[in-house]
Symmetry: C2
Amino acid sequence: MEETSTQLAEEQATVQSHNTEAGEDERDPESNTLQQPLLKRNRTLSSNPLALVGAKVSHIESLDYEINENDLFKHDWRSRSQIQVLQYIFLKWTLAFLVGLLTGLIATLINLAVENIAGYKLLAVVHFIENERYLTGLAYFTGANLVLTAFASILCVCFAPTAAGPGIPEIKAYLNGIDTPNMFGATTLIVKIFGSIGAVSAGLDLGKEGPLVHIGSCIASLLGQGGPDNYRLKWRWLRYFNNDRDRRDIITCGASSGVCAAFRAPVGGVLFSLEEVATWWRSALLWRTFFSTAVVVVVLRAFIEICNSGKCGLFGRGGLIMFDVSDVTVRYRPMDIIPVVVIGIIGGILGSLYNHVLHKVLRLYNLINQKGRMHKLLLSLVVSLFTSICAYGLPFLAKCQPCDPSVTELCPTNDRTGNFKQFNCPSGYYNDLATLLLTTNDDAVRNIFSSNTPTEFQPLSLLIFFVLYCVLGLFTFGIAVPSGLFLPIILMGAAYGRLLGVAMGSYTNIDQGLYAVLGAASLMAGSMRMTVSLCVIFLELTNNLLLLPITMLVLLIAKTVGDSFNPSIYDIILHLKGLPFLDANPEPWMRNLTVGELADAKPPVVTLCGVEKVSRIVDVLKNTTHNAFPVVDDGVVPPVGLAAGATELHGLILRAHLVQVIKKKWFLHEKRRTEEWEAREKFSWVDLAEREGKIEEVPVTRAEMEMFVDLHPLTNTTPYTVVESMSVAKAMVLFRQVGLRHLLIVPKYQAAGVPPVVGILTRQDLMAYNILTAFPHLARTKSREKHN
Amino acid sequence: MEETSTQLAEEQATVQSHNTEAGEDERDPESNTLQQPLLKRNRTLSSNPLALVGAKVSHIESLDYEINENDLFKHDWRSRSQIQVLQYIFLKWTLAFLVGLLTGLIATLINLAVENIAGYKLLAVVHFIENERYLTGLAYFTGANLVLTAFASILCVCFAPTAAGPGIPEIKAYLNGIDTPNMFGATTLIVKIFGSIGAVSAGLDLGKEGPLVHIGSCIASLLGQGGPDNYRLKWRWLRYFNNDRDRRDIITCGASSGVCAAFRAPVGGVLFSLEEVATWWRSALLWRTFFSTAVVVVVLRAFIEICNSGKCGLFGRGGLIMFDVSDVTVRYRPMDIIPVVVIGIIGGILGSLYNHVLHKVLRLYNLINQKGRMHKLLLSLVVSLFTSICAYGLPFLAKCQPCDPSVTELCPTNDRTGNFKQFNCPSGYYNDLATLLLTTNDDAVRNIFSSNTPTEFQPLSLLIFFVLYCVLGLFTFGIAVPSGLFLPIILMGAAYGRLLGVAMGSYTNIDQGLYAVLGAASLMAGSMRMTVSLCVIFLELTNNLLLLPITMLVLLIAKTVGDSFNPSIYDIILHLKGLPFLDANPEPWMRNLTVGELADAKPPVVTLCGVEKVSRIVDVLKNTTHNAFPVVDDGVVPPVGLAAGATELHGLILRAHLVQVIKKKWFLHEKRRTEEWEAREKFSWVDLAEREGKIEEVPVTRAEMEMFVDLHPLTNTTPYTVVESMSVAKAMVLFRQVGLRHLLIVPKYQAAGVPPVVGILTRQDLMAYNILTAFPHLARTKSREKHN
């Protein structure tokens, strides 16, 4: 999946760099009036070359979470009335409500569609099998699955490559401050919805859970910005949300709503966002997120009420009504702790092994996917074909089991859902492997979790199922369709958990269904490395509070074991995608390096004067890719008692604002400072929130080039700064905790002639890998010290 | 309760200021060699004069969360081997385990003690009533309660005033970076344990939940520092924990364990810490906290297993086994949403009203408590007397109800626990008010939550109970015993919830017991303003997942309603205690003020030279109360190309380290910089972690006064800084997000003669009230703008 988005990024990158080069060729080399040697391209320390997105990292822009305190913004918020503030608060809650509502409705739609499409498909197959037309059944089953897979894959490949995969790593990166292009657009949303329906109905080994999280985030982002990029609602109220901070908040709501919709776990959804996805968190956000998930739960509940009256076609017990094991009385003796610990350890080992192998598979898939769209599509179809043949063919290997008359459930059944599938067995017998394979993944989980049925599954069937799903879990994830990781891992984990339960036989008091639940939990913890949120999700999923203590134990053990081998699956994917994710804790060796040394390793910082010539601004914009420039005033009138000739750091100006200045041609004939109202007449809040626009597209005449611009009113006068003697470790804490995009370095010396800013740090400069590339001697001390 | 701790703070303050004055009088006024006029006392902007602790705020010190990067610390961690790092990690987890284990054991002890003491007391009273010796019963009941209250109160008043009250606000303040004196000592712990046993057994309207949170934190703090202050274990491994950051983490574990032990809610405990208590949070901490609570749950479970076999005296179904309503099938129609919404609204209104009135009562109590120990004790006894008389007398007002033969529970009963108390009624009849009043609070909650008993309580009885507990809830909290807020609020809320359920009669499908649960939840949300954590605590408390959606709804409504009136009860108490709690969001008007302006309103910053004369250091230490001083190097050799005479900000040195230097007499005869090894020979890591020691106690001879000290190796070379043009709002974000104690202000001008540091900000300077006192014109814009 990330290969596809990679591809996109690469394509864009090519286009972009082509533009840049063209621009450079056309430029008159003589017009470069800059004092410092300018760089052809952004020489920010280069990113991890192993990364899939590799050298294109600099095209993934950072987000601006910092409050931009320039004169115009200050005036704008000063002029905001009490009513406008109330509008803002009201809208914030309305958006949270809408995010919950729409996510709930779309989750309903997906569930309805999947259950009906997969249901009619499976009923037809069962019909062929009843009539012993096995080969026709196989052809029908395989054909239907291929068509559905092709549908999902074509959508993804042609329209929105970013819709492939789960999307959770990108959301995590977004909330860390990294803007992946095209991640939250309308096309992505639509492709994700229909692609997910197609892929899940096709019986592929993937879930709708990850995609639902992404869908929730897309809805949130679209609502927050007032619609798709090209057809934005220009509603006055929405302008308050036209900043990265508020969008971050609402996307957090969206992600929580998605998890909630996937598992009907409102608290679990909130905690998932908190533990796994979000980088910054505030108490107020906790509450708003909780409100969104509450709305989702209400929508889902209403939908289930309606469907219970049979108005939803084949949607019966399937889909949303999750794996309820609330009727099981959980009783365990102290001795039962041993198998529980064993499950935890196995979960940790298998989970980290899964992460490791999946990493390799994704790198292999990347090579295939890079070859073009046709290859991506073919890869999906091959996986679909393999899945279909295995799911249809393997049950023939299983022996028919006689129905246990003491079980209250219908046995055997040829129904769309239900346990104890008859498949090819005579009346009174059922095929246990078909019960797990020839059904939707949701039903498979429900069947393998089924309790009070100790003899339902044969060890051999469970083993076949486990091995098959290990293979599928590894080879399905990377194909170009929307795919979630949760369900494959749950199925794998449940299989070995139940297998262990069968193996324990009468030595244990715990029901086999609970073993399956614990196995699933352990593998999730072993692979995804979450604790509290998984615990609550499982609680809400299985609806059984008595499971809580042993679930906690299993999760803690599995995470501990897993952590000692490799990072979590999401971190691995983040790394693979080359997203510059900023970790919470600096590496210990970063204490040995000062930001001054780091700044020295970079090209000198490009500064602008408070009142600057147009030609220089255009030059700087064309010749650098920096997104912000320090504004320095020379020869300011110093405070009383000081010598003349002082320089002053006025602040930091964003590239987007400079482009706006040039575009609006706000030029002065003489070099003077403007009054506050002059800028305010020309620029509105909305203009400054605009991030689009390239300098190459703005025509500037030769006469205009000689004019001046007063940058003062547009400059953020209060950028965060560090003194050059600050260690990188502490600068990184500041950068990450406050959520910065640029961090200025000021000198520790006070003397005439010292520039008031000696460097500028961005996210890329603080990435451990980049620093180690520039300072190889630090790598030696790297392994010496590690704090948790 | 806070009055008592206030009293202590005041007493200490008096002692302290006395010392200082004495010191000043003895000092030779001629010896003051400082250039700047020094201040007699810390003229940090004064604190809220309305606060109970008022002017003594400056004696509550801030904590040092910042990594102190001076040469010695750098050398220390550089020399740490891999094994030492492993020791550190191992110890961190061991401490988390021990915190859980000990909290669990102490919770067990408290529950056992309370159930037995209160049990035997109640059995004796019942015996008197059975024999119709009502007055003897009253005398016995009142007497026993008075003795128990006196025991708890005397412990609190005489030995540890900080043990009174719940302690949660102080823990919240501690995790925000405010060190309240004597809050986590061994005496406090012991008094809290036994005081809590006494107070709860005495039948006062208070819970053991808040105290358990404090107990957990005390245990954590004591374990982290290696024992009580005077008898610390000087174990080598523990030195890694001798810093405020690691102590903060372990106290968070302790608080979570406490909540978990109180409600047997492991996930709820973690979330409580996250939502209500902690200021900073990391994913790693989430996991460790979860581990601690898991240990608590295992301990409690083991204890319940043992007690189930009848080895715990009168401990039967009481205490820990909480208010299980898992056997109730929750069925509700869409119409049932209306009473649920009504409960939420009432909860919000009553909750904020309770906060408002409690605030007034606490201020009144403060006046009484300030008069001395005897007054505190008497106040407690009066409250106890009133409680006893009401609890014993009021049931006589209730009419005896006939037992419903369809109810499976024993009716009537004279047992220690159980529903349907006989009290003064004939056989076959029960007294519903006695069922609620003449029992422990835990049992009262269990009885009022009881389901499938729609006719058990008469509306009049519920009304009497509600009114009584409103009065008791307001007047019990402030007395000098360890008291929790959870249980009083649960009882009040449950009473009106059940009352509403009775009033709804047959119009509703929801069981009356569930109405009581929802009422309790709504009042908690209305008063404490938590959402997700309360939701999970109620989930784990009532053991019924089907309640989740309506609980969420009730909590959201109640919190919204409550928030529109006043802040949460913990915030009110924090404010009352005058603790300088730093909020997450700066006030909007703080954007109108720069830190430079703020610094100008303060006395000039006191700086030291890199190599400083001893006399000046002693002077500065004696004449200021600042806890850190910027170290500035004059006339440093400038980097190539700059004019001579540059000044350089070398860093920040802590008062504690200066005192250490003087104490150890690390003096130089000439003014020179030392080599790195010289300092390292003299000072160890342990010396620098030491925070005790007063300059007045260190003798310095006249000859020594003329010597020099090289401050460079002890200076933290990387303090966080802001440029003077930074707005206070953004500086506060930095201060709070990174967790600082001191923030240096550097000039934005670069010129010779500008001091490299123009000011220093502390927590007190960033408190909204203090700024408004110094800049009254800002107050006018204050109400204009408010962002959430």
